[in-house]
Subunit: 355 residues, 2 copies
Amino acid sequence: MFRNFKVVSKVIFGRGSLNQLDDILQPHRTQTGGFMVFLLDDVFENAPLQKRLPLYPNDMLIPVNVHDEPKTSQVDRLRDQVKAFSPNLPDGVIGIGGGSVMDLAKAVSLMLTNPGSSADYQGWDLIRNPAVYHVGIPTLSGTGAEVSRTTVLTGPQKKLGINSDFTVFDQVVLDPELIRDAPKEQRFYTGMDCYIHCVESLEGTYLNMFSQAYGEKAMELCRDVFLKDLPDSDDRLMMASYFGGMSIAYSQVGIAHALSYGLAFMLGIHHGIGNSIVFDQLEEFYPEGVREFRQMMERQGITLPRHIMQPVSADQIERMIDVAMMLDPLWENALGKDWKSIMTRERIRQLYLAM
Amino acid sequence: MFRNFKVVSKVIFGRGSLNQLDDILQPHRTQTGGFMVFLLDDVFENAPLQKRLPLYPNDMLIPVNVHDEPKTSQVDRLRDQVKAFSPNLPDGVIGIGGGSVMDLAKAVSLMLTNPGSSADYQGWDLIRNPAVYHVGIPTLSGTGAEVSRTTVLTGPQKKLGINSDFTVFDQVVLDPELIRDAPKEQRFYTGMDCYIHCVESLEGTYLNMFSQAYGEKAMELCRDVFLKDLPDSDDRLMMASYFGGMSIAYSQVGIAHALSYGLAFMLGIHHGIGNSIVFDQLEEFYPEGVREFRQMMERQGITLPRHIMQPVSADQIERMIDVAMMLDPLWENALGKDWKSIMTRERIRQLYLAM
């Protein structure tokens, strides 16, 4: 059985393409009482980017804080805020920011048309009704959130995505100028989300040629960006993220993502940096990938946080191991069906303690 | 202004994925009186492929002959045939074959919901109503018809596509097993449609990184297929065609396509072989591409038709030159705004006479 992959159906790419946002949204605006909801990463509040958004008098602009990764409670609150604003559904929800803001926009657009709490839908294909029209505009590249069919949320009981064909954006606006001013470290770690994902999927056992073609090109583009610093690096990084996201169709991540999940769960470490911290320990499993990753760090002047496990108790480490070992498909993709004989609790403990 | 590119929204890729066609179509079947229309390249009539199609008692199977390239009259006739079959619209139109059959399926799905003759819609964005749900299943790879927003038709007055967002397939099924048995020459020339397109767009002046990323990977996959004959060549060729088609978003073809248009117009030469015949004359303009193309021909044991202009009169050659010179954007992409000073009528005449 192959997955019938849902793809973002409208894509605009180009420097300055944000200027076409008004034209893009226009056909989706209803005549009377209609409004659009813009969710904007609050680092851009009152910044030039905010002023460029084509807001109409009825529209809502909601600056969102994503210092912590998105929560189901945050999604529900945003949904309630939109519902309190108008008895009508909005004509669209537009997320402008990194993976977290894009995930919030996806989740809010779903929860406007599906009853209850977003926590009820964490899982696979639990969404019943199509979302409100929703648009993703990345200002950071690497997560692949602009093309994925999930929105990763931390709920009261679990950190898990709302995975559904309805989650996928109806439109993305890929304007490389928007990622130009991202802070150096954030740009790097977010880019590494793409690079590490590609290493894990290309070295994995689940691959087919669709994902391989996308993954190989995404990796090549990451090399251009982080090892060569070409003048059009922003364009390349934006395409790397898009291709990396597309490559997920028939692939699976591996050891770095499995262990990083434990870090996020116990220490609240963000996805990009968590993956990098873990990946640096995985030379045995991904020798070429880790070597190249270190070259990229060096060239970009990035220093990884060290000794992050010092405040963690022995009991907590055991729970992190539990969390990591639950992710069967990731381990199997990386190490084959017999992965438990290779990746024992003790081996995982050593890896964590070295971080 | 960047194009807001409409993408095929559901894609399934994998060896044997055709076996999932019944499941894929099921949600689109209406309860009573509903039917699907299968347009099948008639080379598969009564062949094993035909027997694998999930036909229900009410469905229509129409074998189509594409010895000649698709005509508007053929589209209109097929549309009338479907309308005579049932007073209701079909639940879907599925095209199984090469670029010509896929183009017919696209055009029929459009003409079932738009009045008049398909000749009325040759051009850009003339279609007013969404098409019937339509699915493309390639059995030849290279044209990119599986992802394009056009369906190229020869009408009473012109050869021109119906270019529209509504033309794009709702679903494609990419099963590399289906291209395995294509005749060697047809496989090669169709593959060269992709390769030559990539050379022309990558060497052109219109490119951006979206199209470059897709185009470069498509070219690399063509090399794998035609210079290395890897065991998974069918998978690679299928992805090359998909990527080549995607790369058209922000690119334009060049000299080979412009001259090939004249060949098609006057001699009825099919698109793939026509491009190859022309491209072989363009070493001056695309030196590396032409050299590699010849290596591919040699490795694949392909001999190009020669002396094709012998039956053509001097007057006819002048008309071919007229036709080729009309394609301003192609020439400009290849040679810049000042192309007419480089590509004179005399120069085109020499190129044609050498074929």
